[in-house]
């Protein structure tokens, strides 16, 4: 396969697929579901080819492979330009891996407007892949925004009771951030035209420009970009849209939101904020580190008191992503690699938790922890899966979460930029709290006496549901036992 255009092909597969889905006649829901699954699997296969073509010899910062480019708006040197490096690769794989699984997961609970749902999910995949692959700020911005609209509708149409409020809040929050980023992109490109003589939004050209911008202006540019990404992450105190969006979104929406969408914020920080504005990033590092530590603790405390399982998982996301941001702003090799691996971990573990909560919700139509209890004997397979996933989310050694958190904590401890071991102390205590809220939830849901008569009628996981979980759990163990496979992709950042 031609390595020049394979990334474009990767974006085109779900895009063309989504358009094709629209032409399937009404009422053929099973055809639509199968088509959606096949299209997303096709995208996964293409991404495996990308993995195969990926040259591990050329790993490093600002080293992009398989670059495909052609001029788009020649007056302003705006390009269609896609390329991949280790960071993009690992996130692209996460995206193409999770999308078919989530589509499969919706077979049980999305019963209305299946065609539209599949269309939006595939468009979402297009947007996510585009964001991770773009090497032109203008192109990046278009994908970044284009992805909002499908998500808005996924939450708004197929969500829970408060879906309208949640979807509008999600939309306004993220748009406010990204419009500010647009201003900053243009500003940066204009600054760039003073340095290199031409206006361009080519990321690689701008990498040379950013560090030369005077610190007074650079700070504003950094903050504009960082704000947009921090909303997406979400970093405390910009996280308030997240619990609403997560709780109201349908399971598939939550999984993609937690699994991939949040990663776009941290990806943006690594890809754009740090290399484009290195001086400002160092300048603001303590502030971001403090906010992420607050996020870790705050997320954990709030998760502890939740009565709703989905809300609990949502707040645990705030804590987990706090780790990632802390790792990014530690500016050490270990912490950065830990942050990247933690992004993947969070995608897998939290995605799996959302799936499991979704499965049981489909049966009982409640997410209240108090409505459960004593399900261990009734649904043993489910209980086991929930245990493994919770432990992975807690960071038990041998499972994936441990690797990421461990690397981040070491890296932060050694960090010359932060230069203060209190960050590590507080962040590490967050790990303990994570154990508290997740195990406590597990205990209340799985063990104890059966109080709710409906619980007795629960059926265990179906073959389809097990088929969704198994691939995720394989990776959970794989990363935990042998992380080098994944760490080699991200060396040199």
């Amino acid at each position: 396969m031609n390595s020049e255009s394979i990334l474009t092909l990767l974006i085109l597969v779900p895009l063309v697929g989504a358009l094709m889905v629209l032409f399937i006649p009404k009422g053929k829901d099973s055809v639509v579901r199968t088509a959606g699954l096949l299209i997303s699997l096709a995208a996964f296969v293409v991404s495996l080819f990308v993995l195969d073509l990926f040259d591990y010899g050329k790993i490093g910062f600002k080293e992009f492979q398989m670059v495909h480019t052609f001029p788009w708006i020649s007056d302003f040197n705006i390009f269609y330009k896609v390329g991949i490096d280790g960071l993009s690769l690992i996130l692209v794989l996460l995206t193409t891996f999770l999308t078919p699984l989530t589509l499969l997961a919706t077979w049980g609970n999305i019963k209305v407007k299946v065609k539209e749902f599949t269309f939006f999910m595939l468009m979402l995949e297009v947007g996510m892949l585009g964001v991770f692959l773009s090497l032109d700020l203008f192109l990046f911005y278009i994908f970044w925004e284009a992805m909002l609209i499908p998500m808005y509708f996924i939450i708004g149409i197929w969500g829970g009771e408060q879906r309208i409020y949640a979807s509008v809040k999600f939309f306004i929050y993220t748009m406010a951030g990204s419009l500010l980023m647009l201003v900053a992109i243009i500003w940066l490109a204009v600054e760039g035209s003073n340095v290199i003589g031409t206006f361009t939004t080519d990321l690689i050209a701008l990498y040379a420009v950013g560090p030369q911008v005077g610190l007074d202006i650079q700070k504003y540019l950094f903050l504009a970009f960082a704000l947009s990404f921090a909303i997406k992450v979400p970093l405390f105190p910009l996280h308030t849209w997240l619990p609403d969006a997560h709780v109201q979104a349908p399971t598939a929406g939550s999984v993609i939101l937690a699994g991939v969408l949040l990663k776009m914020g941290t990806y943006g920080l690594i890809r754009f904020c740090l290399p484009l504005f290195p001086q400002s990033a160092v300048y603001f590092a303590p502030m971001f580190a403090v906010l992420s530590v607050i996020g870790i603790l705050y997320g954990a405390f709030v998760a502890m008191v939740q009565k709703d399982m989905k809300k609990l998982v949502a707040y645990s996301s705030v804590a987990h992503l706090g780790f990632v941001v802390l790792g990014i702003f530690a500016f050490t090799q270990e912490a950065m690699q830990g942050a990247i691996i933690q992004m993947i971990n969070h995608g897998l573990s939290t995605g799996a938790l959302f799936l499991l909560v979704g499965f049981i919700y489909d049966r009982m139509h409640t997410r209240e922890i108090a409505d459960y209890g004593g399900i261990a004997k009734i649904v043993p397979v489910y209980s086991t899966m929930l245990l493994i996933t919770s432990l992975s989310s807690i960071g038990l050694p041998g499972l994936n979460g441990f690797i990421g958190e461990f690397l981040i904590l070491i890296g932060t401890f050694k960090s010359p930029v932060l230069n203060n071991w209190w960050y590590t102390v507080f962040a590490a205590s967050g790990v303990i709290f994570a154990a508290v809220y997740l195990l406590w939830m597990y205990q209340r849901v799985v063990f104890g006496e059966v109080k709710n008569p409906h619980v007795k009628e629960l059926t265990d996981m179906t073959g389809r549901e097990i088929a969704i979980m198994i691939p995720i759990l394989i990776f959970v163990v794989w990363i935990g036992v042998y992380p080098s496979t994944f760490l080699t992709m991200t060396e040199g950042f």
């Binding site: 708006i73 911005y141 925004e145 879906r163 979807s167 509008v168 939309f171 201003v183 490109a189």
Partner: protein, 500 residues
């Protein structure tokens, strides 16, 4: 000699002459054939078609007409004016097409002729505004546009709202034209001439300055602000937009705005500013706070428009406030006073034509089916009338300025012009306003797709003609969001005598 020259010049105004002929022909048909609908439509549409062909033919040439004894021309046909004429003609074309489907008032069908005649008179007004270089002639064009519009706003005879709209429009309009002509008279008093070129020369010599000149400019701007519905002369907009027949509202929101903008551009480029760019920025001929005035009106318009739009329950009023906000965005492009800004304004306007016309078209189509323009009645339209709902969403997303639609490109250009001109504060306001505007545009989509309808929508169905017309506007809105070089070239060609 002079007579033959003038006659020759008159014949050079081909587009204007054809348009006048069509108006007279339509009047005749209306009188003698008892308003034969098909004939009226064929004649008016063909007429506009011919006018458009003529306009495109002369879109890159410049010709000075009616050169007086003092050596300065009364009118010039040049690309910028032609651009405005094209915009006005295209919107008239769509308006006539929309009229055919609008079922707001059953008596309208019988009076199509009157509508067309008045509509084409407004187009003629824009034509004169676009080519004239004499303040009196400009004012005449301005009034031709205004007075016909007053009548058209009240075209729904049976609706008291429509009559109210007409009267309100008339009163506001008369007041602001009066202010404007006062401004013109001050300028005449100061310089002793109404010819733009001579005034520019006098101003350039530095002989004039001070409060009186500032007053004249502010008064002139008052008239323009009224036409483009900019703050603080925007008060008529929501009532008139709501009351007027919707196809005319669509026209008003585009053609009337281009009339005001072409006048503003003319005054800036040929009267109050020096020719050419001094290090990328236009320089005023006399030392007046142009930047501050334009920035003030721009920020005021977008902020007022967007903030008030948040509370609107009627889609037409919502679009009216959105159109006030858009006047602000367009003015921001002019306030940059650099070449990117000028191109940005024209590019934005071309896209604005598509998306605003499109939005009003869908409003007409939906009203035909559900007999309402209240947002709460839009609940559930998405599943009942999917094409209309999707198209309306595209237009609204484009008005918000999100990719991948044309509106995004327009906003991108304006932002770029502002950053280039170091107007970061104004860029920041534009950003803030876009965020505010998100909320109400998204709210419309929420009603269309997400909210559950309270009552059954009954027999609502889409028709082919409406669908095709919607697509004609919606497809380019998307395509120009990705590939817009043709529009960019058009805008640059329109400014070729002004750009460095």
């Amino acid at each position: 000699m002079e007579l033959t020259q003038n006659l020759h010049d008159l014949l050079s105004l081909r587009a204007e002459l054809v348009l006048t002929a069509v108006i007279l022909l339509l009047l005749g048909i209306e009188l003698f054939s008892k308003g034969n609908k098909t004939l009226l439509r064929v004649v008016s549409l063909t007429g506009i078609g011919v006018v458009l062909i003529l306009l495109f033919g002369e879109s890159s040439t410049a010709q000075k007409l009616f050169i007086g004894s003092n050596g300065v021309p009364l009118m010039i046909i040049e690309p910028l004016g032609t651009f405005a004429k094209i915009i006005a003609s295209i919107s008239a074309l769509f308006t006539i097409l929309f009229m055919g489907i609008n079922r707001e008032d059953s008596t309208m069908v019988r009076r199509e002729g009157e509508f067309m005649v008045l509509l084409l008179c407004t187009v003629l007004g824009v034509f004169f505004l676009s080519s004239s270089y004499d303040l009196i002639l400009l004012y005449t064009g301005f009034e031709l546009l205004s007075i016909s519009s007053y009548a058209l706003a009240g075209y729904n005879k049976r609706s008291s709202q429509s009559s109210e709209a007409s009267l309100k429009y008339l009163v506001y309009g008369a007041a602001s034209s009066a202010i404007m002509i006062y401004g013109i008279s001050i300028l005449y008093g100061l310089t002793g001439t109404t010819n733009i070129f001579i005034i520019q020369a006098i101003l350039g010599s530095g002989a004039l300055s001070g409060a009186l000149l500032l007053m004249a400019i502010v008064f002139l701007l008052a008239g323009i602000a009224f036409k483009i519905s900019a703050f603080p002369f925007h008060f008529w907009t929501p009532d008139v937009y709501e009351g007027a027949p919707t196809h005319f509202t669509a026209y008003l929101s585009v053609a009337s705005k281009i009339g005001g903008f072409i006048l503003l551009l003319r005054l800036i480029l040929d009267l109050f500013f020096r020719k050419g760019f001094n290090s990328e920025i236009l320089q005023p001929v006399s030392d007046l706070p142009w930047n501050d005035i334009l920035i003030f009106i721009s920020i005021g318009s977008m902020t007022i428009g967007n903030l008030v739009a948040l509370w609107q329950k009627n889609i037409k009023r919502l679009l009216a406030y959105s159109s006030i906000a858009h006047a602000g965005y367009l003015l921001a492009g002019i306030a940059a006073l650099n070449s990117t800004g000028l191109v940005a304004v024209l590019v934005y306007f071309a896209f604005y034509l598509l998306m605003n016309m499109g939005a009003f078209l869908v409003v007409i189509l939906i009203k035909n089916e559900i007999h309402s323009e209240m947002l709460e009645d839009y609940n559930g339209i998405g599943s009942k009338l999917p094409l209309y709902a999707i198209a309306l969403s595209i237009f609204l997303v484009s008005l918000t300025g999100l990719p991948p639609t044309a509106g995004f490109i327009g906003k991108f250009y304006i932002l770029m012009a502002l950053v280039n001109a170091d107007l970061v504060l104004l860029a920041f306001f534009l950003f803030l306003n876009s965020v505010i505007s998100l909320y109400y545009y998204v709210r419309v989509m929420k009603h269309l797709f997400i909210s559950k309808p309270e009552k059954e929508l009954g027999e609502a169905k889409q028709n082919v003609y409406g669908g095709v017309l919607t697509l004609v506007l919606a497809v380019p809105t998307i395509i120009f969001g990705i590939f817009f070089t043709p529009i960019l070239r058009l805008a640059e060609a329109a400014l070729k005598f002004y750009l460095p």
